[in-house]
């Protein structure tokens, strides 16, 4: 009887751990406000002088944030040091690029195939790699990156375009919209892609699958002995990550009107890595925050030329060693203090080396 009262009263909901009820940490007002802002923003920005430039920056941010988030999903949460993310991005880009360029498909139709082919490629990469650990994964995925690069440079002409990549792919067309109007439509497509990817990745992180993958990262022996199929979990997460990376690749091809082989250059990997590390490795919002910071800073630092790379490299090394949490915890604390629907329970101190030693776990 009293239990019923408590349940119907609603005010005395027991505080649950984040992992148990992630939706209770999210305020509908924050999400709604962000969504509304994202919808209205281009309409406001376009009235500014540099508005179009800002909108294109936002589009760039959406694309990069999707890739960074997917990479963080397997690298930060899954603990799989895969460096094939740019290669998967390229697979997605080339897929829809070739479909449009050689077969004359509509970009909106062709882009649907990008994530699928990227998933197939991810399965191909994952089957030999994901049974291995740590360094072996780094090396093999770098090898796949290199193979993909060699293939796009020396492969058949409809792929390599004579060594430069696909340089003239039809871009997205929205009826006969041109100029600012078209940019706004492009913005909405990118924002939709970003929203879907973010939501799915958030769901995956808090699903049993996500918990299993984090458990595998933290203590593989323990997780496996609790009945988690290590290979299956990893390959599913890898495929999910590849799906959105491929989608972003396809979008990027039709946004830029082509995809060049310079995409495989090492600085591209570094940029993405910097986003994840600066924002916060293995945190949900880290890569999004990091993408915003890196893209924003790039605009100011681009005048510095090579000093920019120097600074980026040192920042990467410094943050990795001295602040491995990145910048996300700062933002998160602000959110928890002012916007979250219910206060956060003080965290249980669990040493990552031995999760099964704490009594709270059992």
């Amino acid at each position: 009887m009293s239990a019923q009262v408590a349940a119907t009263a609603g005010a005395t909901r027991p505080p649950l751990d984040v992992a148990a009820a992630p939706w209770r940490r999210v305020s509908p007002y924050t999400v709604g406000g962000t969504a509304l802002l994202a919808l209205v923003l281009p309409l406001l920005l376009v009235r500014l002088n540099i508005g179009t430039y800002l909108i294109t920056l936002l589009i760039l941010f959406f694309v990069q944030a999707v890739v960074a988030q997917s990479w963080n999903l397997i690298m930060g949460y899954g603990g799989i040091y895969s460096f094939a993310q740019v290669a998967l991005f390229a697979v997605g880009g080339w897929t829809s690029g070739v479909l449009v360029h050689s077969l004359g498909w509509n970009p909106f139709f062709a882009i649907l195939f990008s994530p699928l082919v990227a998933v197939v490629a991810a399965l191909g990469i994952g089957l030999p790699t994901l049974r291995l650990r740590g360094v072996y994964v780094v090396l093999l995925t770098l090898a796949f990156h290199e193979l993909a690069r060699v293939f796009t440079v020396t492969g058949p002409r409809f792929i390599s375009g004579g060594g430069y990549g696909l340089v003239t792919v039809q871009t997205f067309q929205f009826g006969d919209a041109i100029g600012d109007q078209r940019t706004i439509y492009l913005y909405y497509v990118a924002a939709l892609m970003f929203a879907i990817a973010t939501f799915v990745i958030w769901r995956v992180i808090h699903s049993p699958l996500g918990v299993a993958m984090t458990a595998l990262r933290d203590s593989e022996t323990y997780a496996v002995s609790r009945g988690i199929n290590q290979f299956r979990v990893r390959i599913v997460v890898f495929a999910i990550s590849a799906f959105f990376t491929g989608l972003a690749g396809g979008y990027s091809t039709h946004y830029n009107g082509g995809i060049s082989t310079t995409i495989f250059d090492f600085p591209r990997i570094i940029d993405l890595l910097a986003m994840i590390v600066i924002g916060g490795w293995g945190t949900f919002g880290g890569p999004i925050l990091g993408a915003g910071i890196v893209i924003g800073l790039d605009q100011y630092l681009v005048a510095l030329g090579d000093y920019q790379t120097l600074i980026l490299g040192l920042a990467l090394a410094g943050i990795a060693v001295f602040a491995p949490q990145g910048l996300w915890p700062l933002i998160r604390r602000l959110y928890e203090n002012y916007l979250a629907p219910e206060p956060l329970k003080p965290a249980v101190e669990v040493s990552p080396a031995a999760p099964h030693d704490t009594t709270e776990e059992l």
């Binding site: 740590g134 072996y136 090396l139 020396t154 090492f266 000093y307 060693v321 491995p324």
Partner: protein
């Protein structure tokens, strides 16, 4: 003998010793510190640029520049250890932090090299010039020097690890870090020594190889990737494995290159390593202990 065969064998032995030289440093650091040093290529570049600076700006002979480059590379590696690796030794996120930190260092070095010098290709003179031909294949004396010094270094490192105090300390630390520290071996200082030695090896490889590959700010990247492959092929942390795998892969690559064309060389090597990892996940001479990563 046919020209092709001689060319394949010569190229294979040369590449093999080059890969071995690079892989030796990587495998030492991995074996002792459990650090995947992705800045190994950057240290290679540091060594070569120091030697280039000594030769071209100070106008000293290459034989003077060689030891200076090697010492400079070792000092750089030790500095890297002091700033970025020592603070995280023994912390939970060691793998993550050092992996990213070394990537960051490697791009910082290449940017610094562009800023100090310029992105153009540089030439370091060979330590010994001249060449002779064997059935229409040009064999450079510098190549012979690279092969000889690579073999000699493998021998030296082997003797060093087996018979000297520091070498034994390094082996003790790599086998059982806790037991080693209980035997009052200064673990962190040993780590620093290993990293410095590995840096010296990378610097030597840089100075000796730059006459072949030319020198630019990113020229360390490819040798490093090849060395990584060799290290994994031979078994991480195994000195003998690095030597054997270096020659196996070098000769394999060279034969593919000569008989099937350059475009197939790298894909061929990658396919070989993928097959290898499926058949023998710990490499040729790897020890079964890979659970720490």
């Amino acid at each position: 003998m046919s020209t092709q065969l001689v060319q394949a064998v010569w190229g294979g032995i040369l590449f093999g010793s080059v890969y071995g030289l690079m892989a030796l440093g990587l495998t030492l650091v991995w074996g002792a510190v459990r650090l995947l040093n992705l800045a190994h290529g950057a240290i290679f570049v540091v060594g070569s640029y120091i030697a280039y600076f000594v030769v071209s700006r100070l106008n000293l002979p290459i034989l003077v520049a060689l030891p200076i480059g090697v010492l400079g590379a070792a000092a750089f590696a030790y500095l890297m250890h002091l700033i970025f690796i020592r603070p995280v030794i023994g912390k939970p996120g060691f793998d993550n932090s050092t992996l990213i930190a070394t990537v960051g260092i490697s791009i910082a070095v290449s940017a610094a090299a562009i800023l100090i010098f310029n992105p153009e290709y540089k030439v370091i003179p060979p330590v010994i010039g001249g060449n002779f031909t064997v059935s229409n294949v040009q064999i450079t004396k510098q190549g012979l020097l690279v092969i000889a010094s690579s073999l000699a270094l493998f021998g030296l490192v082997y003797l060093f690890l087996t018979y000297t105090r520091l070498g034994m300390a390094i082996r003790a630390v790599s086998q059982q870090q806790e037991a080693a520290s209980l035997m009052s071996i200064p673990v962190v200082r040993t780590y620093g020594m290993v990293i410095a030695i590995s840096g010296a090896l990378a610097g030597l490889a840089g100075v000796l190889l730059s006459p072949f590959f030319f020198l630019n700010p990113n020229s360390g990247f490819n040798p490093m990737i090849q060395a990584l492959i060799v290290t994994i092929f031979g078994g991480l942390g195994s000195v003998r494995g690095a030597l054997v795998a270096g020659f196996v892969l070098g000769i394999f690559e060279s034969f593919v290159e000569v008989y099937y064309g350059v475009a197939w060389a790298q894909p061929g090597v990658f396919l070989l390593i993928i097959l290898m990892l499926i058949l023998r996940p710990n490499g040729l001479f790897g020890i079964g202990e890979v659970r720490r990563l």
